[in-house]
Symmetry: C2
Subunit: 419 residues, 2 copies
């Protein structure tokens, strides 16, 4: 009797996490004799803990195909981190109890490095409890900060969005600079790793093109060096366009935008505002009129301008996860291995979950120009292929036509549990 | 001997103002015996005042064709308002002197209602000074607030961008709401007219879909009624997505985001922040975690997701302006006249510049739902056709491939003049 699959989405969602879900579901449907039902956790791992499972077999093939081009997390995601086995033992045991009750033989967890850590711990506990379970991680994060894999599904589309937006806003502010706005600041995501900020740099392909300055979380903010550069730029080009990471901090490690009060469920400070702080600093010190934009969720939800490479990779890691699970590969994660830059070529290789768990991959220093305000050619060679190709969703009535699944629950078998 | 054309772009630029420029230039090139050169003002009307003219005949047909899909203002724009003939008489006379020196017979001014006022005044003065000049306005504004014309080129593309972004962010926050973000706020442009805010409402096509609340500049902000609605929405749907106009104000007319200090060259307060104020109010009073986005220039520069209808109309008003000028129609503006909603049909009709000048068209009250937080079916019927169709630019290396013109200046003939 084939055992069932549990699949869940975790952490901040992306424009292509549903493409991974699509890859998972379409692939499981190709093995009806080997795999039973595919249950998705409603709102991520919370759905497993509360035994709130979604029966994906009740969704039509057409709707599942539409997941490939629908942003957000189709089954809901969550920010809920399972801590150590000691601290959260009851929760891990509950997971196994739910998996046992629903004959789950495969645990597929789609998320970032926190989630890869959870998947690895679940695999450890299942072994200890003698519960046969194959645990496979599926990489997802706009931050591109997962170890082992060359890049992360989700990042290429954000990169394409922010670089496109920066180029477009650059054309705008260049037009306005003579009598009005001379400074444009775009704040982008990235708490500790400057990959998204670096991607903004791709918008500039020749001297003088926007953006002119990138502010990375890897480089402590030096206001005086920054202001000198802004002023030079305005005097030379008439305007200055700047991309700022939300995680920009000073030499003492203090966040430029620290709100100081709010923290998310993972204990991270909730950011947003570094762009405004930097823009106001310019106005106060140099007197230039500014505009600033805060892309926030727009950047990671922008499926309308997804990278085709990113969509293909997101689908491929979903498919590979099911194939790995069927082959009995436990505690692994399909990773992307780059074969060449030009033309871009890649393949899927299996990484050890333990090597991915909780490791944060920052920008290598050699990807940032020596003075700290730009990207190097090596960085461009790395980034550029990840934005390649377009994959527009279908439109209806002038807007992208995304799918909403029925998301019908599976009957509960266990007593309530409050995570 | 055919006389020359002067063309200038004015005020905030849009994703399609260059499509109008493309229509103007391609059409003038079709009448070599009737029209001489087409000179563009560098940085708008400032270019005419300073005799800084760009010779567009030095640009290739291929590059001019690329203007159709390039955002921003290809020749530069400016925020510089010519006041009354009495107050700014020297400036108007300088304009005529420059036009006389370069044998300008046609003045084409591409802008909003301030610019239509300028074009009208120039036509008045030319008549008084016995200088033969045909003045034609070309409508442009993301705010959609010009009188007489059914809609304004530039608006449809912003509308498509903000509605798409709101829909995408809605999918994102819906995924996150169980354990994390429950509130998403998108701040959009619109100082006095809520057209762009209304366009966000198109993202929702069924009960419960994002956005759930729209905050218009036409409706004084009532915090208590708003908070009640937010709370109801979160309790019913799990999350609440809100679009806020930058021009939101209270019952006393005070801007919610008033910075109080900075004003642009037209005397307008520089806004930006209403979204954050509203989001923080929700957090303070209801305790829900929020995210907010500030689209700023991204919305009006987003040529990558322009409306095809908008691009076609922008081109058509440029073409019609040249044809009107050739026919000797003075002090007019090509306007868009709607012939039917479904299927959408429109034509160009000539409006009297004087009727357009300085009039601001607000949202009709019957386009806003009775309680003030949404749009009506009549509003949807009006807005929806303006977003129809896609018209993606070509991409290279993963990014939209926009044109930068050579913008070579015409030799000066007059003494310096400081506007």
């Amino acid at each position: 009797m084939p055992r069932n699959v549990f699949y869940a989405q975790s952490g901040g969602v992306t424009a292509v996490i549903n493409a991974s879900a699509c890859g998972v579901i379409e692939t499981t449907r190709q093995y009806p004799g080997k795999i039973g039902a595919l249950y998705a956790g409603r709102d991520g791992i919370i759905g497993a803990l509360t035994e709130d499972l979604i029966d994906t077999s009740l969704e039509s093939a057409a709707d599942i195909a539409r997941l490939r081009y629908t942003p957000g997390g189709a089954f809901g995601s969550c920010r809920y981190k399972l801590k150590s086995l000691e601290e959260h033992r009851a929760q891990y045991e509950r997971l196994i109890a739910v998996f046992r009750a629903h004959d789950i033989g495969y645990f597929l967890y789609n998320g970032g490095n926190d989630s890869m850590d959870t998947a690895w711990k679940v695999s450890q506990l299942a072994t200890r409890l003698d519960f046969p379970l194959v645990c496979v991680g599926i990489p997802k994060t706009v931050d591109n900060d997962l170890a082992v894999t060359d890049n992360c599904p989700g990042f290429g589309s954000v990169a394409k969005y922010v670089a496109t937006s920066m180029r477009e806003a650059g054309f705008d502010v260049a037009s306005m600079a003579r009598t009005s706005t001379k400074i444009f600041v775009l704040e982008v995501m990235g708490r500790h790793a400057g990959w998204i900020t670096a991607a903004c740099g791709l918008a500039s392909e020749a001297e003088g093109e926007a953006p002119h300055i990138l502010l990375f979380p890897e480089i402590p903010f030096d206001p005086e060096a920054f202001l000198r550069r802004v002023d030079q730029c305005v005097k030379r080009h008439g305007y200055c366009a700047i991309a700022v990471s939300e995680g920009l901090h000073d030499a003492n490690g203090n966040l430029i935008a620290e709100t100081g009060t709010r923290r998310d469920a993972f204990g991270h400070a909730q950011l947003g505002g570094a762009g405004q702080v930097v823009a106001q600093l310019i106005q106060a010190r140099l007197g230039y009129k500014y505009h600033w934009a805060l892309a926030d969720y727009l950047q990671r939800a922008a499926r309308h301008i997804a990278s085709r490479v990113d969509v293909e990779q997101a689908y491929a890691v979903g498919r590979a996860a099911v194939e790995a699970a069927l082959a009995g590969k436990n505690a692994v994660m399909p990773a992307i291995r780059r074969l060449s830059d030009t033309p871009y070529a890649w393949e899927i290789a299996l990484a050890d979950l333990r090597e991915v768990a909780n490791v944060e991959k920052k920008m290598p220093r050699e990807f940032i120009s020596p003075e700290g305000f730009g990207i190097t050619d090596a960085c461009r060679r790395y980034l550029s292929p990840l934005l390649e190709g377009e994959d527009a969703p279908p439109f209806a009535r002038g807007l992208p036509n995304y799918v909403r699944l029925k998301n019908i629950g599976v009957a509960r078998k266990l007593a309530d549990f409050a995570p």
